[in-house]
Protein backbone atom coordinates (compact mmCIF):
# COMPACT_ATOMS: atom_id res chain seq x y z
CA UNK A 1 0.00 0.00 0.00
CA UNK A 2 1.07 3.53 -0.76
CA UNK A 3 1.87 5.70 2.22
CA UNK A 4 -0.03 8.96 2.59
CA UNK A 5 2.06 12.03 1.99
CA UNK A 6 2.89 14.32 4.89
CA UNK A 7 3.67 17.16 2.53
CA UNK A 8 1.19 19.96 2.01
CA UNK A 9 0.09 20.85 -1.51
CA UNK A 10 2.90 22.66 -3.32
CA UNK A 11 5.32 22.06 -0.46
CA UNK A 12 8.84 20.93 -1.37
CA UNK A 13 10.40 18.02 0.47
CA UNK A 14 13.65 19.89 1.00
CA UNK A 15 11.87 22.89 2.56
CA UNK A 16 9.89 20.64 4.89
CA UNK A 17 13.08 18.84 5.87
CA UNK A 18 14.92 22.11 6.47
CA UNK A 19 12.23 23.43 8.76
CA UNK A 20 12.21 20.12 10.63
CA UNK A 21 15.96 20.25 11.19
CA UNK A 22 15.78 23.87 12.33
CA UNK A 23 13.04 23.04 14.84
CA UNK A 24 15.08 20.19 16.28
CA UNK A 25 18.21 22.31 16.42
CA UNK A 26 16.48 25.07 18.36
CA UNK A 27 14.94 22.53 20.72
CA UNK A 28 18.33 20.89 21.32
CA UNK A 29 19.99 24.22 22.05
CA UNK A 30 17.28 24.97 24.58
CA UNK A 31 17.51 21.60 26.32
CA UNK A 32 21.33 21.64 26.41
CA UNK A 33 21.82 23.43 29.77
CA UNK A 34 19.29 21.12 31.39
CA UNK A 35 20.93 18.04 29.88
CA UNK A 36 24.36 19.29 30.95
CA UNK A 37 23.14 19.88 34.52
CA UNK A 38 21.52 16.45 34.60
CA UNK A 39 24.70 14.75 33.40
CA UNK A 40 26.88 16.70 35.85
CA UNK A 41 24.63 15.73 38.75
CA UNK A 42 25.56 12.08 38.23
CA UNK A 43 29.33 12.72 38.11
CA UNK A 44 31.87 12.80 40.90
CA UNK A 45 33.01 16.25 41.98
CA UNK A 46 36.45 15.66 40.40
CA UNK A 47 34.92 14.74 37.05
CA UNK A 48 32.46 17.62 37.25
CA UNK A 49 35.17 20.18 37.98
CA UNK A 50 37.41 18.88 35.21
CA UNK A 51 34.54 18.37 32.73
CA UNK A 52 35.59 14.75 32.28
CA UNK A 53 34.00 11.38 32.86
CA UNK A 54 36.60 9.00 34.31
CA UNK A 55 34.94 7.78 37.47
CA UNK A 56 31.57 6.79 36.06
CA UNK A 57 28.08 7.97 36.92
CA UNK A 58 26.40 7.47 40.29
CA UNK A 59 23.56 8.70 42.47
CA UNK A 60 26.10 9.71 45.12
CA UNK A 61 25.50 13.46 44.86
CA UNK A 62 21.77 12.95 45.32
CA UNK A 63 22.34 11.24 48.63
CA UNK A 64 24.80 14.00 49.61
CA UNK A 65 22.25 16.74 49.22
CA UNK A 66 19.84 14.80 51.46
CA UNK A 67 21.91 15.33 54.63
CA UNK A 68 22.77 18.87 55.42
CA UNK A 69 25.06 20.05 58.14
CA UNK A 70 23.12 20.98 61.28
CA UNK A 71 22.35 24.67 61.51
CA UNK A 72 22.05 25.16 57.75
CA UNK A 73 18.91 25.04 55.65
CA UNK A 74 17.77 21.44 55.09
CA UNK A 75 16.05 20.10 51.99
CA UNK A 76 13.02 19.10 54.05
CA UNK A 77 12.54 22.59 55.50
CA UNK A 78 13.05 24.36 52.19
CA UNK A 79 10.75 21.94 50.38
CA UNK A 80 7.99 22.31 52.96
CA UNK A 81 8.32 26.09 52.89
CA UNK A 82 8.19 26.20 49.11
CA UNK A 83 5.21 23.85 49.00
CA UNK A 84 3.23 25.92 51.48
CA UNK A 85 4.13 29.25 49.91
CA UNK A 86 3.42 28.05 46.36
CA UNK A 87 0.15 26.24 47.06
CA UNK A 88 -1.33 28.86 49.38
CA UNK A 89 -0.38 31.78 47.14
CA UNK A 90 -1.62 30.08 43.96
CA UNK A 91 -4.90 29.09 45.60
CA UNK A 92 -5.56 32.63 46.82
CA UNK A 93 -4.55 34.06 43.43
CA UNK A 94 -7.15 31.87 41.71
CA UNK A 95 -9.82 32.70 44.29
CA UNK A 96 -9.26 36.39 43.60
CA UNK A 97 -8.66 36.14 39.86
CA UNK A 98 -11.81 34.20 38.97
CA UNK A 99 -14.34 36.77 40.21
CA UNK A 100 -12.15 39.56 38.82
CA UNK A 101 -12.08 37.87 35.43
CA UNK A 102 -15.85 37.42 35.55
CA UNK A 103 -16.25 41.13 36.22
CA UNK A 104 -13.91 41.98 33.35
CA UNK A 105 -15.00 39.42 30.75
CA UNK A 106 -18.60 38.33 31.25
CA UNK A 107 -20.12 41.50 32.66
CA UNK A 108 -17.54 44.18 31.96
CA UNK A 109 -17.51 46.72 34.77
CA UNK A 110 -17.44 50.42 33.95
CA UNK A 111 -14.00 51.43 32.58
CA UNK A 112 -12.86 47.81 32.42
CA UNK A 113 -9.99 48.73 30.13
CA UNK A 114 -8.51 50.96 32.82
CA UNK A 115 -8.96 48.27 35.44
CA UNK A 116 -7.16 45.81 33.23
CA UNK A 117 -4.37 48.29 32.64
CA UNK A 118 -3.97 49.06 36.34
CA UNK A 119 -3.53 45.36 36.97
CA UNK A 120 -0.77 44.97 34.42
CA UNK A 121 0.91 48.30 35.22
CA UNK A 122 2.30 46.82 38.44
CA UNK A 123 4.46 44.68 36.20
CA UNK A 124 6.23 47.73 34.77
CA UNK A 125 8.02 48.47 38.04
CA UNK A 126 11.49 46.90 38.35
CA UNK A 127 11.47 44.39 41.18
CA UNK A 128 14.54 46.00 42.73
CA UNK A 129 12.73 49.32 43.02
CA UNK A 130 10.03 47.77 45.16
CA UNK A 131 12.24 45.98 47.65
CA UNK A 132 13.02 48.91 49.95
CA UNK A 133 9.45 49.92 50.87
CA UNK A 134 8.47 46.28 51.06
CA UNK A 135 11.34 45.59 53.41
CA UNK A 136 10.45 48.53 55.64
CA UNK A 137 6.84 47.43 56.00
CA UNK A 138 7.71 43.77 56.36
CA UNK A 139 9.99 44.66 59.24
CA UNK A 140 7.40 46.92 60.82
CA UNK A 141 4.83 44.12 60.76
CA UNK A 142 7.34 41.49 61.90
CA UNK A 143 7.06 39.52 58.69
CA UNK A 144 10.76 39.22 57.86
CA UNK A 145 11.80 35.60 57.72
CA UNK A 146 8.24 34.26 57.53
CA UNK A 147 6.38 32.36 54.80
CA UNK A 148 3.55 34.88 55.15
CA UNK A 149 5.50 37.73 53.54
CA UNK A 150 6.38 35.52 50.58
CA UNK A 151 2.78 34.38 50.20
CA UNK A 152 1.60 37.99 50.21
CA UNK A 153 4.21 39.04 47.66
CA UNK A 154 3.63 36.10 45.34
CA UNK A 155 -0.10 36.76 45.38
CA UNK A 156 0.57 40.37 44.49
CA UNK A 157 2.95 39.44 41.70
CA UNK A 158 0.91 36.62 40.18
CA UNK A 159 -2.53 38.18 40.43
CA UNK A 160 -2.26 40.57 37.43
CA UNK A 161 -1.08 37.80 35.14
CA UNK A 162 -3.75 35.44 36.47
CA UNK A 163 -6.49 38.03 35.95
CA UNK A 164 -5.34 38.70 32.40
CA UNK A 165 -5.12 35.04 31.55
CA UNK A 166 -8.39 33.91 33.13
CA UNK A 167 -10.13 36.88 31.57
CA UNK A 168 -9.04 35.80 28.10
CA UNK A 169 -10.17 32.23 28.80
CA UNK A 170 -13.53 33.46 30.09
CA UNK A 171 -13.94 35.47 26.89
CA UNK A 172 -13.82 32.17 25.02
CA UNK A 173 -16.93 30.91 26.78
CA UNK A 174 -19.73 31.30 24.23
CA UNK A 175 -21.98 34.22 25.14
CA UNK A 176 -25.12 32.18 24.41
CA UNK A 177 -24.16 29.58 27.01
CA UNK A 178 -24.08 32.20 29.72
CA UNK A 179 -27.37 33.62 28.51
CA UNK A 180 -28.90 30.14 28.46
CA UNK A 181 -27.74 29.65 32.03
CA UNK A 182 -29.22 33.00 33.01
CA UNK A 183 -32.58 32.04 31.55
CA UNK A 184 -32.31 28.61 33.16
CA UNK A 185 -32.26 30.41 36.48
CA UNK A 186 -28.68 30.17 37.70
CA UNK A 187 -27.22 32.51 40.29
CA UNK A 188 -23.88 34.13 39.41
CA UNK A 189 -22.06 31.62 41.61
CA UNK A 190 -23.78 28.68 39.92
CA UNK A 191 -23.11 30.17 36.51
CA UNK A 192 -19.44 30.32 37.35
CA UNK A 193 -19.37 26.85 38.85
CA UNK A 194 -21.50 24.81 36.46
CA UNK A 195 -21.09 26.61 33.15
CA UNK A 196 -18.04 28.85 32.95
CA UNK A 197 -15.47 26.96 35.02
CA UNK A 198 -15.90 23.57 33.31
CA UNK A 199 -15.32 25.21 29.94
CA UNK A 200 -12.46 27.42 31.09
CA UNK A 201 -10.88 24.62 33.16
CA UNK A 202 -7.95 23.94 30.81
CA UNK A 203 -7.11 27.63 30.74
CA UNK A 204 -7.36 27.92 34.49
CA UNK A 205 -5.06 24.92 34.83
CA UNK A 206 -2.54 26.68 32.58
CA UNK A 207 -2.83 29.85 34.65
CA UNK A 208 -2.36 27.96 37.90
CA UNK A 209 0.68 26.20 36.47
CA UNK A 210 2.32 29.50 35.53
CA UNK A 211 1.66 30.87 39.03
CA UNK A 212 3.15 27.72 40.56
CA UNK A 213 6.23 27.89 38.36
CA UNK A 214 6.84 31.53 39.15
CA UNK A 215 6.33 31.18 42.90
CA UNK A 216 8.44 28.03 43.04
CA UNK A 217 11.37 29.64 41.23
CA UNK A 218 11.21 33.16 42.73
CA UNK A 219 14.57 34.00 44.24
CA UNK A 220 14.98 37.74 44.68
CA UNK A 221 12.32 38.48 47.30
CA UNK A 222 12.95 35.15 49.00
CA UNK A 223 16.62 36.07 49.42
CA UNK A 224 16.02 39.64 50.60
CA UNK A 225 13.20 38.98 53.01
CA UNK A 226 13.80 35.44 54.09
CA UNK A 227 17.31 34.37 54.95
CA UNK A 228 16.19 32.21 57.86
CA UNK A 229 13.63 29.54 58.71
CA UNK A 230 11.15 30.56 56.01
CA UNK A 231 13.57 29.99 53.12
CA UNK A 232 12.46 28.31 49.96
CA UNK A 233 13.97 25.92 47.42
CA UNK A 234 15.98 28.39 45.32
CA UNK A 235 17.87 29.41 48.47
CA UNK A 236 18.45 25.80 49.37
CA UNK A 237 19.94 25.21 45.91
CA UNK A 238 22.36 28.07 46.47
CA UNK A 239 23.18 26.77 49.98
CA UNK A 240 24.87 23.86 48.24
CA UNK A 241 27.55 26.21 47.00
CA UNK A 242 30.51 25.46 49.23
CA UNK A 243 33.51 27.62 49.99
CA UNK A 244 35.64 24.50 50.53
CA UNK A 245 36.31 22.03 47.72
CA UNK A 246 34.40 21.30 44.53
CA UNK A 247 30.63 21.54 44.58
CA UNK A 248 29.50 21.63 40.92
CA UNK A 249 28.06 18.09 40.86
CA UNK A 250 26.25 18.55 44.14
CA UNK A 251 24.86 21.91 42.99
CA UNK A 252 23.66 20.25 39.78
CA UNK A 253 21.93 17.52 41.74
CA UNK A 254 20.27 20.15 43.93
CA UNK A 255 19.11 22.08 40.85
CA UNK A 256 17.60 18.95 39.34
CA UNK A 257 15.80 18.10 42.58
CA UNK A 258 14.52 21.68 42.83
CA UNK A 259 13.03 21.71 39.37
CA UNK A 260 11.56 18.19 39.43
CA UNK A 261 8.26 19.13 41.17
CA UNK A 262 7.54 21.89 38.63
CA UNK A 263 8.37 19.62 35.71
CA UNK A 264 6.07 16.95 37.10
CA UNK A 265 3.31 19.50 37.72
CA UNK A 266 3.70 20.79 34.18
CA UNK A 267 3.61 17.31 32.74
CA UNK A 268 0.45 16.47 34.69
CA UNK A 269 -1.27 19.73 33.79
CA UNK A 270 -0.39 19.45 30.11
CA UNK A 271 -2.91 16.67 29.51
CA UNK A 272 -5.65 18.80 31.01
CA UNK A 273 -4.58 21.90 29.16
CA UNK A 274 -4.47 20.32 25.74
CA UNK A 275 -8.03 19.01 26.00
CA UNK A 276 -10.30 20.94 23.66
CA UNK A 277 -11.66 24.18 25.02
CA UNK A 278 -15.37 24.09 24.35
CA UNK A 279 -15.97 21.23 21.96
CA UNK A 280 -19.63 20.63 21.31
CA UNK A 281 -20.79 23.81 22.97
CA UNK A 282 -21.75 25.38 19.70
CA UNK A 283 -22.78 23.87 16.42
Amino acid sequence: MKRGTRLGVGERRSAALGIGILAWLVALIWIFPVAWTLLTSFKTEQDAAAQTLHQGLSLGRYSDIGHSTPGTLSLQTAFTNSLVVVLVSTLIVLLLALPAAYALAIRPVHKWRDVLFFFISTKFLPVVASIFPIYVYAEKWNLIGTRTILIILYIAINLPLAVWMTRSFFMEVPRELIEAAEIDGTSILNQLRSVILPIAAPGIAATALLCVIFAWNEYFYALQLNFASGSTMPQWVISNVSTRGNFLAKLSAASIVACLPVVLAGWAAQKRMIRGLSMGALK
Partner: protein, 355 residues
Protein backbone atom coordinates in the same frame (compact mmCIF):
# COMPACT_ATOMS: atom_id res chain seq x y z
CA UNK B 1 -49.01 29.87 29.86
CA UNK B 2 -49.59 33.50 29.32
CA UNK B 3 -50.10 36.33 26.91
CA UNK B 4 -47.30 38.72 26.03
CA UNK B 5 -47.52 42.46 25.40
CA UNK B 6 -44.91 44.78 24.05
CA UNK B 7 -45.98 48.33 24.91
CA UNK B 8 -44.00 51.06 23.24
CA UNK B 9 -40.94 48.85 23.83
CA UNK B 10 -37.75 50.54 22.67
CA UNK B 11 -34.12 49.48 22.69
CA UNK B 12 -31.36 51.88 21.77
CA UNK B 13 -27.92 50.28 21.81
CA UNK B 14 -25.34 52.47 23.54
CA UNK B 15 -23.37 54.48 21.02
CA UNK B 16 -26.05 54.33 18.31
CA UNK B 17 -28.60 56.94 17.33
CA UNK B 18 -31.31 54.80 15.78
CA UNK B 19 -33.20 52.39 18.04
CA UNK B 20 -32.71 48.70 17.23
CA UNK B 21 -36.34 48.26 18.22
CA UNK B 22 -38.49 51.36 18.02
CA UNK B 23 -41.71 51.78 20.03
CA UNK B 24 -42.83 48.21 19.42
CA UNK B 25 -46.54 47.66 20.04
CA UNK B 26 -47.39 43.99 19.84
CA UNK B 27 -49.84 41.79 21.65
CA UNK B 28 -49.45 38.02 21.61
CA UNK B 29 -52.31 35.80 22.75
CA UNK B 30 -52.07 32.94 25.17
CA UNK B 31 -51.07 29.81 23.26
CA UNK B 32 -50.32 31.69 20.07
CA UNK B 33 -47.27 31.02 17.88
CA UNK B 34 -46.13 34.41 16.73
CA UNK B 35 -43.29 34.71 14.25
CA UNK B 36 -41.05 37.76 14.18
CA UNK B 37 -39.58 38.03 10.70
CA UNK B 38 -37.38 40.51 8.91
CA UNK B 39 -34.02 40.86 7.19
CA UNK B 40 -30.87 41.00 9.30
CA UNK B 41 -30.66 44.20 11.30
CA UNK B 42 -34.44 44.51 11.44
CA UNK B 43 -34.50 44.20 15.23
CA UNK B 44 -36.29 40.86 15.42
CA UNK B 45 -33.65 39.19 17.58
CA UNK B 46 -33.34 42.27 19.76
CA UNK B 47 -37.11 42.23 20.30
CA UNK B 48 -36.90 38.58 21.38
CA UNK B 49 -33.95 39.25 23.68
CA UNK B 50 -35.89 42.11 25.26
CA UNK B 51 -38.66 39.67 26.06
CA UNK B 52 -36.09 37.25 27.47
CA UNK B 53 -34.60 39.94 29.66
CA UNK B 54 -31.21 39.64 28.01
CA UNK B 55 -31.57 43.14 26.61
CA UNK B 56 -32.80 46.05 28.77
CA UNK B 57 -35.58 48.38 27.65
CA UNK B 58 -34.82 52.05 27.09
CA UNK B 59 -38.47 52.94 26.91
CA UNK B 60 -41.86 51.34 27.17
CA UNK B 61 -42.56 48.02 28.87
CA UNK B 62 -43.12 44.34 28.35
CA UNK B 63 -45.86 42.32 30.04
CA UNK B 64 -45.96 38.56 30.47
CA UNK B 65 -49.30 37.23 31.70
CA UNK B 66 -50.41 40.79 32.37
CA UNK B 67 -47.48 41.41 34.70
CA UNK B 68 -44.90 44.08 33.91
CA UNK B 69 -41.56 42.25 33.67
CA UNK B 70 -39.49 45.14 32.29
CA UNK B 71 -37.30 45.20 35.40
CA UNK B 72 -37.39 41.45 36.10
CA UNK B 73 -34.21 39.37 35.65
CA UNK B 74 -34.29 36.62 32.99
CA UNK B 75 -34.27 33.87 35.60
CA UNK B 76 -37.44 35.21 37.21
CA UNK B 77 -39.46 35.60 33.99
CA UNK B 78 -40.44 31.94 33.70
CA UNK B 79 -39.50 31.70 30.05
CA UNK B 80 -37.43 29.19 28.10
CA UNK B 81 -35.29 30.01 25.11
CA UNK B 82 -33.97 27.95 22.22
CA UNK B 83 -30.84 29.48 20.75
CA UNK B 84 -29.70 29.40 17.15
CA UNK B 85 -26.51 27.58 18.17
CA UNK B 86 -28.44 25.56 20.77
CA UNK B 87 -26.09 26.66 23.59
CA UNK B 88 -25.98 23.21 25.15
CA UNK B 89 -23.71 22.89 28.17
CA UNK B 90 -20.77 20.92 26.74
CA UNK B 91 -19.72 19.38 30.03
CA UNK B 92 -23.18 18.01 30.84
CA UNK B 93 -24.87 15.03 29.19
CA UNK B 94 -28.26 15.23 27.50
CA UNK B 95 -30.25 14.38 30.64
CA UNK B 96 -28.30 16.92 32.70
CA UNK B 97 -28.72 19.56 30.00
CA UNK B 98 -32.47 19.03 29.93
CA UNK B 99 -32.76 18.92 33.69
CA UNK B 100 -30.43 21.86 34.34
CA UNK B 101 -33.12 24.49 34.84
CA UNK B 102 -35.16 22.16 37.08
CA UNK B 103 -32.08 21.55 39.20
CA UNK B 104 -31.59 25.31 39.56
CA UNK B 105 -35.22 25.58 40.66
CA UNK B 106 -34.61 22.95 43.32
CA UNK B 107 -36.92 20.33 41.81
CA UNK B 108 -36.26 16.98 43.58
CA UNK B 109 -34.11 14.46 41.74
CA UNK B 110 -36.86 11.87 41.16
CA UNK B 111 -39.25 14.35 39.65
CA UNK B 112 -36.47 15.82 37.55
CA UNK B 113 -35.62 12.41 36.13
CA UNK B 114 -39.29 11.68 35.45
CA UNK B 115 -39.87 14.94 33.61
CA UNK B 116 -36.68 14.64 31.59
CA UNK B 117 -37.62 11.09 30.59
CA UNK B 118 -41.11 12.18 29.57
CA UNK B 119 -39.78 14.89 27.27
CA UNK B 120 -37.01 12.63 25.96
CA UNK B 121 -39.71 10.16 24.90
CA UNK B 122 -41.65 12.93 23.20
CA UNK B 123 -38.57 13.97 21.20
CA UNK B 124 -37.09 10.47 20.58
CA UNK B 125 -34.06 11.35 22.67
CA UNK B 126 -34.24 8.46 25.15
CA UNK B 127 -31.29 6.50 23.72
CA UNK B 128 -29.04 9.53 23.98
CA UNK B 129 -29.71 10.69 27.53
CA UNK B 130 -26.20 9.89 28.75
CA UNK B 131 -24.37 11.34 25.75
CA UNK B 132 -22.46 14.59 25.71
CA UNK B 133 -23.58 17.22 23.17
CA UNK B 134 -20.40 16.78 21.11
CA UNK B 135 -21.41 13.17 20.41
CA UNK B 136 -24.75 14.16 18.90
CA UNK B 137 -25.71 15.10 15.35
CA UNK B 138 -26.95 18.59 14.55
CA UNK B 139 -30.57 17.45 14.51
CA UNK B 140 -30.22 15.69 17.85
CA UNK B 141 -28.62 18.75 19.42
CA UNK B 142 -31.48 20.85 18.14
CA UNK B 143 -33.95 18.46 19.79
CA UNK B 144 -32.05 18.56 23.07
CA UNK B 145 -32.24 22.35 22.97
CA UNK B 146 -36.00 22.04 22.39
CA UNK B 147 -36.26 19.47 25.15
CA UNK B 148 -34.45 21.73 27.57
CA UNK B 149 -37.14 24.35 26.96
CA UNK B 150 -40.10 21.94 27.09
CA UNK B 151 -39.06 20.26 30.35
CA UNK B 152 -39.51 23.51 32.20
CA UNK B 153 -43.23 24.06 31.40
CA UNK B 154 -42.56 27.78 31.08
CA UNK B 155 -45.06 30.54 30.40
CA UNK B 156 -43.48 31.42 27.06
CA UNK B 157 -41.09 29.75 24.62
CA UNK B 158 -38.64 32.02 22.86
CA UNK B 159 -36.99 30.64 19.75
CA UNK B 160 -34.17 32.44 17.98
CA UNK B 161 -33.78 30.92 14.52
CA UNK B 162 -33.69 27.40 15.98
CA UNK B 163 -33.73 25.67 12.60
CA UNK B 164 -31.15 27.70 10.72
CA UNK B 165 -28.25 25.35 11.49
CA UNK B 166 -30.01 22.28 10.11
CA UNK B 167 -29.65 21.12 6.53
CA UNK B 168 -32.53 21.90 4.18
CA UNK B 169 -34.32 18.56 4.37
CA UNK B 170 -34.12 18.25 8.14
CA UNK B 171 -35.22 21.85 8.48
CA UNK B 172 -38.47 21.24 6.61
CA UNK B 173 -39.15 18.09 8.62
CA UNK B 174 -38.36 19.71 11.96
CA UNK B 175 -40.46 22.72 11.04
CA UNK B 176 -43.55 20.55 10.77
CA UNK B 177 -42.71 18.68 13.98
CA UNK B 178 -42.30 21.94 15.79
CA UNK B 179 -45.69 23.22 14.65
CA UNK B 180 -47.36 20.00 15.82
CA UNK B 181 -45.53 20.12 19.11
CA UNK B 182 -46.52 23.72 19.73
CA UNK B 183 -50.14 22.86 18.94
CA UNK B 184 -50.01 19.99 21.44
CA UNK B 185 -48.33 21.92 24.23
CA UNK B 186 -50.29 25.11 23.48
CA UNK B 187 -47.62 27.27 25.09
CA UNK B 188 -47.29 30.85 23.89
CA UNK B 189 -44.33 30.92 21.52
CA UNK B 190 -42.37 33.77 19.99
CA UNK B 191 -40.32 32.56 17.06
CA UNK B 192 -37.67 34.61 15.30
CA UNK B 193 -36.59 33.87 11.74
CA UNK B 194 -35.26 35.63 8.68
CA UNK B 195 -36.84 33.00 6.45
CA UNK B 196 -40.23 34.11 5.16
CA UNK B 197 -41.19 30.55 4.25
CA UNK B 198 -40.68 29.50 7.88
CA UNK B 199 -42.67 32.53 8.98
CA UNK B 200 -45.56 31.77 6.63
CA UNK B 201 -45.74 28.04 7.41
CA UNK B 202 -45.35 28.26 11.18
CA UNK B 203 -46.90 31.44 12.46
CA UNK B 204 -50.47 31.82 13.60
CA UNK B 205 -49.63 35.42 13.02
CA UNK B 206 -46.50 36.95 11.57
CA UNK B 207 -44.96 40.26 12.61
CA UNK B 208 -42.77 41.83 9.93
CA UNK B 209 -40.01 44.15 11.17
CA UNK B 210 -37.79 46.51 9.25
CA UNK B 211 -35.06 48.71 10.74
CA UNK B 212 -36.58 48.37 14.19
CA UNK B 213 -40.07 49.35 13.09
CA UNK B 214 -43.05 47.02 13.02
CA UNK B 215 -44.51 46.95 9.51
CA UNK B 216 -47.49 44.63 9.84
CA UNK B 217 -48.84 41.89 12.12
CA UNK B 218 -51.33 39.54 10.53
CA UNK B 219 -52.06 35.90 9.79
CA UNK B 220 -49.88 34.60 6.94
CA UNK B 221 -52.62 34.60 4.33
CA UNK B 222 -53.57 38.21 5.03
CA UNK B 223 -49.91 39.20 4.94
CA UNK B 224 -49.64 37.63 1.51
CA UNK B 225 -52.86 38.93 0.04
CA UNK B 226 -53.11 42.31 1.75
CA UNK B 227 -49.57 43.54 2.43
CA UNK B 228 -49.57 46.86 4.28
CA UNK B 229 -46.77 48.37 2.26
CA UNK B 230 -44.17 47.85 -0.44
CA UNK B 231 -41.67 46.34 2.01
CA UNK B 232 -44.01 43.63 3.28
CA UNK B 233 -45.23 42.95 -0.25
CA UNK B 234 -41.67 42.43 -1.43
CA UNK B 235 -40.49 40.49 1.60
CA UNK B 236 -43.29 37.95 1.79
CA UNK B 237 -43.62 35.49 -1.08
CA UNK B 238 -41.08 33.78 -3.30
CA UNK B 239 -40.35 34.72 -6.00
CA UNK B 240 -40.97 38.26 -4.80
CA UNK B 241 -43.87 40.41 -5.95
CA UNK B 242 -43.25 42.30 -9.19
CA UNK B 243 -43.10 46.04 -8.65
CA UNK B 244 -43.35 48.76 -11.27
CA UNK B 245 -43.22 52.48 -10.66
CA UNK B 246 -46.32 54.10 -12.20
CA UNK B 247 -48.18 57.38 -12.60
CA UNK B 248 -51.61 57.27 -11.02
CA UNK B 249 -54.43 58.99 -12.83
CA UNK B 250 -57.63 56.98 -12.33
CA UNK B 251 -55.77 54.33 -14.24
CA UNK B 252 -52.20 53.16 -14.45
CA UNK B 253 -50.19 52.33 -17.46
CA UNK B 254 -47.89 49.31 -17.58
CA UNK B 255 -45.65 48.90 -20.55
CA UNK B 256 -47.88 51.12 -22.58
CA UNK B 257 -51.08 49.36 -21.56
CA UNK B 258 -53.78 51.12 -19.54
CA UNK B 259 -55.24 49.31 -16.57
CA UNK B 260 -58.30 50.86 -14.96
CA UNK B 261 -58.32 50.75 -11.21
CA UNK B 262 -61.55 51.91 -9.61
CA UNK B 263 -61.67 54.30 -6.68
CA UNK B 264 -58.36 55.94 -7.46
CA UNK B 265 -57.81 59.63 -7.18
CA UNK B 266 -55.55 61.15 -9.74
CA UNK B 267 -52.14 62.59 -9.27
CA UNK B 268 -48.74 61.51 -8.15
CA UNK B 269 -46.50 58.53 -8.54
CA UNK B 270 -47.04 55.13 -7.03
CA UNK B 271 -45.93 51.54 -7.20
CA UNK B 272 -47.92 48.81 -8.84
CA UNK B 273 -47.36 45.37 -7.38
CA UNK B 274 -48.50 42.02 -8.74
CA UNK B 275 -47.47 38.53 -7.75
CA UNK B 276 -45.81 36.16 -10.25
CA UNK B 277 -48.93 33.96 -10.39
CA UNK B 278 -51.01 36.83 -11.79
CA UNK B 279 -48.88 37.02 -14.92
CA UNK B 280 -50.32 34.93 -17.73
CA UNK B 281 -48.02 34.25 -20.69
CA UNK B 282 -49.47 33.60 -24.10
CA UNK B 283 -49.52 34.54 -27.76
CA UNK B 284 -52.26 37.10 -27.10
CA UNK B 285 -52.35 39.81 -24.46
CA UNK B 286 -51.90 43.53 -23.99
CA UNK B 287 -48.31 43.60 -22.68
CA UNK B 288 -45.36 42.68 -24.90
CA UNK B 289 -42.42 40.96 -23.18
CA UNK B 290 -39.32 38.89 -23.85
CA UNK B 291 -38.26 35.72 -22.01
CA UNK B 292 -34.91 36.02 -20.20
CA UNK B 293 -34.70 32.81 -18.24
CA UNK B 294 -36.83 29.78 -17.52
CA UNK B 295 -36.57 28.00 -14.13
CA UNK B 296 -38.40 24.69 -14.28
CA UNK B 297 -38.94 23.29 -10.77
CA UNK B 298 -41.07 20.40 -11.98
CA UNK B 299 -44.15 21.35 -9.99
CA UNK B 300 -44.07 24.95 -11.20
CA UNK B 301 -42.12 27.05 -13.64
CA UNK B 302 -40.71 30.52 -12.97
CA UNK B 303 -40.34 32.55 -16.13
CA UNK B 304 -38.16 35.64 -15.90
CA UNK B 305 -39.29 38.29 -18.37
CA UNK B 306 -38.30 41.73 -19.56
CA UNK B 307 -40.94 44.36 -20.27
CA UNK B 308 -40.45 47.81 -21.70
CA UNK B 309 -42.05 50.10 -19.13
CA UNK B 310 -41.87 53.88 -19.33
CA UNK B 311 -38.95 53.66 -21.72
CA UNK B 312 -36.84 51.39 -19.52
CA UNK B 313 -36.37 47.65 -19.36
CA UNK B 314 -37.88 46.12 -16.25
CA UNK B 315 -37.56 42.57 -15.05
CA UNK B 316 -40.61 40.70 -13.87
CA UNK B 317 -41.23 37.08 -12.94
CA UNK B 318 -44.18 34.91 -13.87
CA UNK B 319 -45.17 31.68 -12.16
CA UNK B 320 -46.86 29.26 -14.55
CA UNK B 321 -48.03 25.69 -14.53
CA UNK B 322 -45.83 23.16 -16.31
CA UNK B 323 -45.36 22.24 -19.03
CA UNK B 324 -44.08 25.56 -20.35
CA UNK B 325 -43.01 25.62 -23.97
CA UNK B 326 -41.44 29.10 -24.17
CA UNK B 327 -37.75 29.54 -24.99
CA UNK B 328 -35.22 32.15 -23.93
CA UNK B 329 -35.31 35.34 -26.05
CA UNK B 330 -38.74 34.47 -27.39
CA UNK B 331 -41.18 37.38 -27.62
CA UNK B 332 -44.49 36.77 -25.82
CA UNK B 333 -47.59 38.67 -24.71
CA UNK B 334 -48.66 39.00 -21.09
CA UNK B 335 -52.01 39.40 -19.40
CA UNK B 336 -52.50 40.21 -15.71
CA UNK B 337 -55.18 38.06 -14.18
CA UNK B 338 -55.78 38.18 -10.46
CA UNK B 339 -54.96 40.64 -7.74
CA UNK B 340 -52.87 43.75 -8.22
CA UNK B 341 -51.92 46.25 -5.53
CA UNK B 342 -51.28 49.92 -5.80
CA UNK B 343 -48.98 51.60 -3.28
CA UNK B 344 -48.72 55.35 -2.85
CA UNK B 345 -45.60 57.50 -2.89
CA UNK B 346 -45.10 56.76 0.82
CA UNK B 347 -45.14 53.04 -0.08
CA UNK B 348 -48.37 52.30 1.82
CA UNK B 349 -50.99 50.17 0.10
CA UNK B 350 -53.87 52.29 -1.21
CA UNK B 351 -55.84 49.95 -3.43
CA UNK B 352 -56.20 46.30 -4.30
CA UNK B 353 -58.17 45.22 -7.34
CA UNK B 354 -58.87 41.94 -9.01
CA UNK B 355 -58.50 41.93 -12.76
Amino acid sequence: MASVQYQDATRLYPGTTKPAVNKLELSIDDGELLVLVGPSGSGKSTALRMLAGLEPLDDGRILIGGKDVSQVAPRARDIAMVFQNYALYPNLDVAQNMGFALKQQGVPKDERARRVKEVAQLLDLEPYLDRKPRNLSGGQRQRVAMGRAIVRHPQVYLMDEPLSNLDAKLRVQTRAELVELQMRLAVTTVYVTHDQVEAMTMGHRVAVLRDGDLQQVDPPSKLYHEPANVFVAGFIGSPAMNMLSVSVDHAVEIAGTQIRIGGLDGGGRGTLGFRPETVVIGAEGPIPARIRLVEDLGSEVFVHLVVDHEGEEHRIVAKVEPPFGGKVDENVRLTLRGTVHLFDAAEARRATVTL
